[in-house]
Symmetry: C2
Subunit: 152 residues, 2 copies
DNA sequence: TTAGGTGCAAACGTTTTGCAACTTG
DNA sequence: CAAGTTGCAAAACGTTTGCACCTAA
């Protein structure tokens, strides 16, 4: 755990607990384990990848639990679900202080995250012009990364 | 068929025939039917919707054929595959002279297409800055459309 | 004590594949 | 006639669900 660029995990826990309390949901051992593992992840995890990590600590967890827990996190806005072309759903933590889009290399599958507030502003303009009240967006750029360009 | 805003279907056929010739693929009755129905579509078709349309003309076509034909069209760059959140893949024609993104109402599922060259320019800037050679992108804006806002 | 959660396995819906029969070039 | 294509049905895939048992509050 470095000292820089830490996100506020405590805030996520608080938001989750709040949501669970409001909905009469319970804080179980499995749920805590799955959410903590998820909050600690830095990637775009598939259910299976997350399950693998969780099972290191508690091998008896079934994957229905992971599905259900991620659905919960999605519902309370703490996880985003992404689809990058292969058949699987991937999830990433919805940090309160961060929004980013994705730049994906179609050769090596590397995924770079970026933020561009100019683009976001233009998106809001477009939506407004067409009468929409914008809630979220998804921007994915596909191309060949510098490394793969050099290899060719 | 109106006189305005016609796309060049002939060009699509030429590109397809070229691709098939280069890869030793054959022009069958089914393939022609599926591709023509697809080229004539204006929407984001699911496999099932396309199959329904095709079966009006030729009821004996199986859906594996439609899947395989759309994979072919995808491979030669004449069709784009889209995922809008429900489980199904949707396809749209990759017109050479057109590019657009999507604005999706999360209430009524209405999909509006738009183009914004300013956004596209910024996308290219971002990609360039990160060393990528951009080949395509996907931008989806989600929100509530004017009609659904009024209803609430 | 009871509403909610878990783990398993079966069910689900979409997509892919193996194969024998058929077509295209 | 050789190689590609089709239609069917079965398999595969990721995901969801029903249920009996368990557990947090």
């Amino acid at each position: 755990m470095g000292a820089t660029a830490e996100h506020d995990v405590e805030q996520l826990r608080a938001r989750l607990n709040d949501y669970m309390a409001r909905h009469g949901l319970r804080s179980t051992e499995q749920r805590r384990l799955v959410t903590e593992m998820f909050f600690a992840s830095r990637d775009h995890l598939s259910i299976e990848e997350l399950l693998d990590r969780v099972r290191i600590e508690e091998p008896r967890i079934g994957y229905a639990t992971v599905y259900r827990t991620l659905k919960l996190l999605k519902d309370c806005g703490l996880a985003f679900e992404r689809h990058f072309g292969d058949g699987v759903s991937r999830y990433e933590v919805a940090w309160a202080d961060e929004h980013h889009d994705h730049l994906i290399c179609t050769e090596c599958e590397k995924i770079i995250e970026f933020e561009d507030s100019d683009i976001e502003e233009l998106q809001h303009n477009v939506a407004q012009r067409l009468g929409f009240n914008l809630t979220r967006h998804k921007l994915e750029l596909y191309g060949i990364c510098a490394g793969c360009q050099a290899k060719e």
